[in-house]
Amino acid sequence: MTEQKERELYFWMVLVREFEARVAALDKQGKLAGGVYSGRGQEAATVGVCHALRPDDWVFPLHRDMGAYLVKGADPNRLMAQIFGRRDGFSKGKDSYLHGGDLAHGIFGATSMLAATLPVAAGMAYKFRMKNEDRLAVAFFGEGASSRGDAHEAMNFAGVHKLPVIFVCENNFYAYSTPNELQFAVENVADRAAGYGFKGEVASGNDLHTVMNVMQKATDRARRGEGPTFIELKTYRYHGHSEHDRAAYRTEEELVTWESRDPIELWEHYMDKRKYDLPAIQAETLARARKVVEDAVAFAEASPEPTGPEAMDDLYATPVGEGR
């Protein structure tokens, strides 16, 4: 990798962290409504996965995947407006954050129903295969979401048709408060891939190199027509499930252990070993990221609130009138 690319990746991770930190702070200040979820600690997963994609590939982020939006090309200003529920958000205020995708950048907006995006991703991948398009669909989901029937139906179908879809499970060891031993009786959820006739990969989600390596294998496989890959990335969320969750169900020790494997620090350590001028890079990157974030906040705050009657827009291609 070139130094430039390495610094670029670093920038993305820092941007994601700064963006989320700012969102959490805004939430604490009471400036945001609705639930706010943080992926702090998981930045290498979304950045590593999405950096491997092309503009015409599709991603399906879930609630902890702010990074997927940013890296895949969503305008940070509009993303922040989305979180504020303003008119310039992707949903135009109709919902917040992940429920509005940015279709121009191949980012699909999810419902709240966990794993319900996986069938949609499989459907898109079917189109790519059917029309011989060299494109991929990447669906993110938590290890908790893997228990839903939709995950099964989607993976099975993807296996049958060897679809160019990558299932990325961010295993952060908790689904809200529920630890893995109450979620499934296996060590690695990716072991399930064998039952669908494709490859499962288990890797560190905190080590950006590792993430990029497994993604490289997975995208190669998919682009060669060899079908899906189930990538399981072991990682950890530092915050509670949402900003309101004190996360009493886990120990301080566990948290610190994972913080000691922080994805950004690991990357800094690597850059340091490469003898780059780390302090300068850090300062410059942080400044650049903070500027993006502050601009985004300013943009979002200036974006108008939607008016009440706009709630009736965008229900149908052509309004159906009094018929409903």
Binding site: F90, V120, R324
Partner: protein, 325 residues
């Protein structure tokens, strides 16, 4: 003009649209080589190939969810439920995924899918092969619902549904598949979504109905000719409703009876009755009445099924009662 059955009409509509637009496709269980459990898709895989006519695993939620993904990319998938009853297994993908897609994306996305499958009772299908699930979806904005009663409409509405940029639930009635046969034009035609049709003109009582009971209502109107002048409105589209025609007819007759094969309580007839009773309060010469299936499950044994379902006699009786009012 060729004679076609209701079932053939659906098949023709799918074929014509697939020939016209290469993005139209069909997914479902056994829709390919088998041509579907009822042969609705017979001949399609031979003509359009197995990439476009997809025999899926038994995964209703996947079928609908994948359809949404295809639709976002500009495809126009028709998604078959082998029996419409199985739509319950894909419920979330319809009401949360498909119905809110455009809305949650602030208008960026369209969701041109058609979900279709055989519904309705009268063939001793029992609890899980006789359902009329339209009321589950009637309160969900973002969806359109159609329910053709004739071969002409079956064809014309299917073509419109396929071309529609929003999710359309197309409820076909298995009792009508081969029992209804009619001449339909050679030339291409569409039946617009959102427009009802008058099946019989009259001045005393309006019967508002859709699906299989259109035929019983028309039969009742015919039997009552000379005694009571009955107007029969076939809704054809359930969402959005054709309030123009409903209102005009009820204003004329002053009396409205709503009939559907779906269960009475919580059926869509309740909404129609409630709106008529409110908006046309001054125009009514009698209470708005409703007739639906009895409030129970679709029992199997013939005497029970007959007891449950509305039929020509029950409709005739209800019309008489309303006319006497």
């Amino acid at each position: 003009m060729p004679m076609v059955t209701y079932l053939q009409a659906i098949n023709q509509a799918m074929q014509e649209e697939m020939a016209r637009d290469e993005n139209v496709m069909l997914m479902g269980e056994d829709v390919g080589a088998m041509g579907g459990a009822f042969k609705v898709s017979e001949g399609l895989i031979e003509r359009f190939g197995k990439l476009r006519i997809v025999d899926t695993p038994i995964s209703e939620s996947l079928i609908i969810g994948a359809g949404v993904g295809l639709a976002v990319l500009g495809m126009r998938p028709i998604l078959e439920m082998q029996f419409i009853d199985f739509i319950a297994c894909g419920f979330d993908q319809i009401v949360n995924q498909a119905a809110t897609l455009r809305y949650r994306h602030g208008g960026q996305a369209s969701c041109p899918i058609v979900i279709r499958g055989p519904g309705g009772a009268g063939v001793h299908g029992g609890l899980y092969h006789s359902q009329n699930p339209e009321s589950w979806f009637f309160s969900v904005p973002g969806l359109k619902l159609v329910a053709p009663a004739t071969a002409y409409d079956a064809k014309g509405l299917m073509k419109s549904a396929i071309r529609d940029d929003d999710p359309v639930l197309y409820f076909e009635h298995k009792f009508l598949y081969r029992r209804i046969k009619e001449e339909i034009p050679d030339e291409e035609f569409l039946v617009p979504i959102g427009k009802a049709a008058l099946r019989s003109e009259g001045t005393d009582v309006t019967v508002i109905t859709y699906g299989a009971t259109v035929h019983s209502a028309v039969g009742a109107a015919r039997d009552l000719a000379g005694e009571i002048s009955v107007e029969v409105v076939d809704l054809r589209t359930l969402l959005p409703l054709d309030w123009g025609m409903i209102r005009a007819s009820v204003r004329k007759t002053g009396k409205a009876l709503i009939v559907h094969e779906a269960r009475l309580t919580g059926g869509i007839g309740a909404e129609i009755a409630a709106r008529i009773a409110e908006e046309l309060f001054e125009d009514l010469d009698g209470p708005v009445m409703r007739l639906g299936s009895r409030d129970t499950h679709n029992a199997f044994a013939a005497p029970m099924e007959a007891f449950i379902l509305p039929d020509k006699l029950k409709i005739t009786e209800a019309i008489r009662k309303l006319a006497r009012y």
